[in-house]
């Protein structure tokens, strides 16, 4: 019962990601795609800065003791958000989300297979290959 409630919450949170994309598309058309992307990172960054200041045991210093390549995730995020604002007005939110999912599943297979970015010791698993084929078919149908 508790599990079901938590999963319902996660499902609603996932719906929020599509709402985010649905808001970004029209916003980007009006104020420009880069400005729309900035709004996401600016508001999120400021909110998280507040959260960090008031979090019980902030460990910001440990960030800079990590190997530098581990800190590059933040440079990749903007590309994803810019793609969202560019694509949704042209192909719609549904196709945008399915396309992103397709790239994600394909890349996670490659990451696992070649052991890139520190994700190692897994072969290609047939479930995900089949899932990828079905997602591609869905993308073609939409």
């Amino acid at each position: 019962m508790q599990h079901a409630l938590i999963l319902l919450g996660v499902l609603i949170a996932g719906m929020g990601l599509s709402v985010e994309a649905g808001l970004l598309g029209p916003l980007g058309e009006q104020v420009g795609h880069l400005s729309a992307t900035l709004s996401i990172f600016l508001v999120g960054g400021l909110l998280l800065s507040l959260a960090l200041v008031f979090s019980p045991n902030p460990k910001v210093a440990t960030l800079f003791r990590q190997p530098r390549w581990l800190l590059t995730g933040g440079l990749l995020g903007p590309f994803y958000v810019i793609v969202l604002t560019l694509a949704t007005p042209i192909v719609g939110v549904g196709m945008t989300m399915v396309g992103i999912l397709c790239g994600q599943v394909a890349a996670s297979l490659a990451l696992d297979h070649f052991g890139w970015l520190g994700s190692e010791c897994r072969g290609v698993d047939s479930y995900r290959v089949l899932a990828l084929v079905m997602i591609l078919a869905a993308l073609w149908l939409m």
Binding site: L23, S35, L38, I40, T62, L70, L71, L76, A138, L141
Partner: protein
């Protein structure tokens, strides 16, 4: 003629998201979820500010002149992150991943169907219903794949660590 470019962009965007999840999962495990999410958003803001400052063509509307509800997108990203942080230790990555993808796809099709938030209307038709059935199958397979991975981790706990929580913008 735009379409093929958009397709490539979407696939690359998804691939980049997967790479980011992998990196941030590792970073989050080493430092902390709030710390890694903070770094992700702050670096994203710096980079997009620079891009916007130098490359954005001048627009009539600005972020300060549009209705405020259009600026609330970031809140959904932050809420998503908190939900994942709370849920993953309790229900596992397999179930959480499936719930996220299901919610995401369901809502995206609803937004298209009704044209919410000033989006163009793209009604559900037969081919979209077939696509939905295929996606449900794919989600089931993704669940099985995660479960299989979990079992392998339990049976032989080796040096490979399950990526913790990936903050996604």
């Amino acid at each position: 003629m735009f379409l093929p470019i958009i397709f490539v962009l979407l696939l690359v965007g998804g691939a980049i998201l997967a790479a980011q999840s992998s990196i941030n999962g590792r970073l989050g495990a080493n430092t902390g979820v709030i710390e890694s999410a903070w770094l992700t958003f702050v670096m994203g803001a710096l980079l997009t500010f620079l891009l916007m400052f130098f490359f954005e063509p001048v627009q009539e509307a600005t972020l300060f002149s549009v209705p405020k509800w259009q600026l609330t997108g970031a809140l959904f990203g932050v809420v998503y992150m908190l939900a994942i942080v709370f849920a993953v230790p309790r229900v596992g990555t397999a179930a959480a991943t499936v719930a996220v993808i299901s919610g995401q796809l369901l809502m995206s099709l609803l937004i298209d169907h009704f044209g919410w938030f000033d989006n163009a209307q793209r009604p559900l038709d037969v081919s979209r219903y077939i696509a939905m059935a295929l996606l449900i199958g794919a989600i089931g397979l993704i669940y099985l794949s995660h479960q299989q991975r979990q079992r392998r981790l339990v049976s032989q706990p080796s040096e490979c660590t399950e990526a913790a929580v990936d903050p996604k913008p």
